[in-house]
Amino acid sequence: MSLPSPLLAVAVNLAWIDYTILIAYTAFVVGIGFALKRYMKTSADFLTSGRSIPAWVTGLAFMSANLGALELVGMAASGAKYGISTAHFYWVGAIPAMIFLAVFMMPFYYGSKARSVPEYLKMRFDERVRCLNSLTFAVMTVFASGISMNALAKLLNQLLGWDYHAALWICSGIVLLYVLKGGLTSAIYTEVLQFFMIVLGFAPVVYLGLKDVGGYGKLKQALEGVATHPQPLALADKSFSSDAWTSAWTPLLHGPSANPMGVDLFAMVFGLGFVLSFGYWCTNFLVVQRAMAARNMTAARQTPLIAAVPKMLMPVLVILPGMLAVGLAALNKGYDLPKVAISSGDTTAAVAIFQSATASKQSPEQVSQAVANKLGAFGFKPEFITVITQAETSAIPDSQVRTAIEQNAILKNDYDGVILSLVKKYCPSGLLGLALTALLASFMSGMAGNVTAFNTVWTYDLYQAYIAKDKSDAHYAWMGRFATIAGILLSIACAYFAKNFNNAMDVVQLVFGFVNAPLFATFLLGMFWARTTGTGAFLGLLGGTATSAIFHGLSLATGNGVGVKGGYFAQLLGIQPIPFPSEMAQNFWLATFAFGVCLFLTVAISLATKQTKTANDLRGLVYSLTPRIVNDEVPWYQKPEFLGIILLAGCVILNIIFF
């Protein structure tokens, strides 16, 4: 969800107890892999867990597969940047989508006996749709795991002083070991372990932060002050109404200029809440695979619902820390938001700008702005203006200017460092080991999740489908293991790629964004409209992806330059790009358009082409042609429909509380 950026450069010293906790965790995950080894007999055991896992386990793994370290870091960063509105990613985005998956879509995924999401697409449409989906998915998972491993190795390098290469290879080696032994079951089990590690590792940090601030009431008060004066903390360059960080909806209702996210209500509810979230939670094989591994239909449908409970409460652990960090900084509790460091060379260049700008008698505001830009800082304290006026009357020496710049500069925030800076502030040895192990665990299980999704798609949807059709199961089981090793090696290659070509990586992620944006339209039509044809789905998907690219090339968020952030086609055509108040708004609207075009094209082309599948072919794959599930074996209060309504009500209540 968030792009990797250099994590905070803070070093900590670990005591023996911290290393012991780290080693204990590692020993247990590897041990689980070895303990599961004897159950891995067929390719299905290895790649799909033989559909044998209880719902609470798949449920926690479902949630946890998405709770990667980049999510942890990114959500805390957004919590600081945007406040409680970040919870929309959970309460508007994830929860309704998870309920929809459980109630409406899971019966088709699980009931069709497909082993993967691309395989469902093949059953419902044709080979072309499967091929497109499985290829992009396979490449995407490898890149995702590479990006995450690069961030982990960087973190271990900066935080603990470990060698980058050693950290990367050792951590990947551990993941390889336990996935190779226990397959998908290993990955799912360690995801459950990781879930508890994160909850139990971060809860005390949040508690201590909250206690330090003086409770939620005090935090709210502090953030209200921050919202009206965000400049001293370098949070935003303009003031907002006092509830901008502490209300989820009110600032949104007043338009994009009234909330720090710069997003309008429609883009938030439809773009994020519907298109992007449903697209991710309902179609991404990485998460859906967890539910498909459940032991029966009821368990498969309960999986996303069980996951929704911790997901709904997760903002306390992942978003609140970001808000706490801002609160602590505002209340002067001996804490400052982590800052982007400035090199001495930049300062020297800024001094030169200062001297030339003051010599040419520019207005103090202009001088201040020019110096801040050169320095790469957010701005300057008001005192700096006095220094400028003074310099404009009689020149002051370079050394004095340098001191004035260093003393008065307000540096930009390094939001991705927020969560670690809190861990560092509050954790003594012991708890520190637990919190860092939780972070490390989420990195490693993220890699395991991606690799297990990759090996299944590779083995069943690419290798078995296009390369070697009628081989023995033992052969595919072997291929699954081989794909695991290959997947890990490719991830390592991608990690190096991400390390050395950061900009190229941004482009790669951008392209995946284009492919994902329209995907939900294809699934929605496929599952609920029997008339949808393979040709319609395939061309609709391509059209939607092209729309994403065109939309991106024609639009640009304020403050961004033409390039990887958009605007390139507009420049090519010599027209002004469509302006958006923020990158987030641009993305949400992009998704909305891609979805709309994909939906329209799929419907239009389906109506123009002949349906090649008979009603019998589509039984169990399409809503109207599938007999309703009558599950009498579970009491009414365990039925997905009932649980879904309860969860939705809970979600609405949360939204009202933090309105």
Binding site: I17, A24, L36, I53, T185, L208, Y426, P428, L434
Partner: protein, 65 residues
């Protein structure tokens, strides 16, 4: 799958909990300045032991099918 996940979860958190509790008992109060004077290792270690123990017990109880 034959292995009950509650067993390793229970074992691991009991072990880490015991380690942290023990560490908390034998460390000077000075290191807890950063955790607002609370001996977090001792208290949180105990929480982990309780959680781990609960997981262990539930995994060892005979399974109802």
């Amino acid at each position: 799958m034959g292995l009950d996940i509650r067993l390793p979860i229970g074992l691991m958190f009991s072990l880490i909990g015991l380690l942290m509790t023990g560490y908390g008992l034998f460390t000077p109060a000075a290191i807890y300045e950063r955790s607002l004077g609370i001996n977090v290792n001792l208290w949180w270690g105990l929480v982990l032991v309780v959680f781990g123990g609960w997981m262990l017990i539930s995994s060892l109880r005979p399974q109802k099918k």
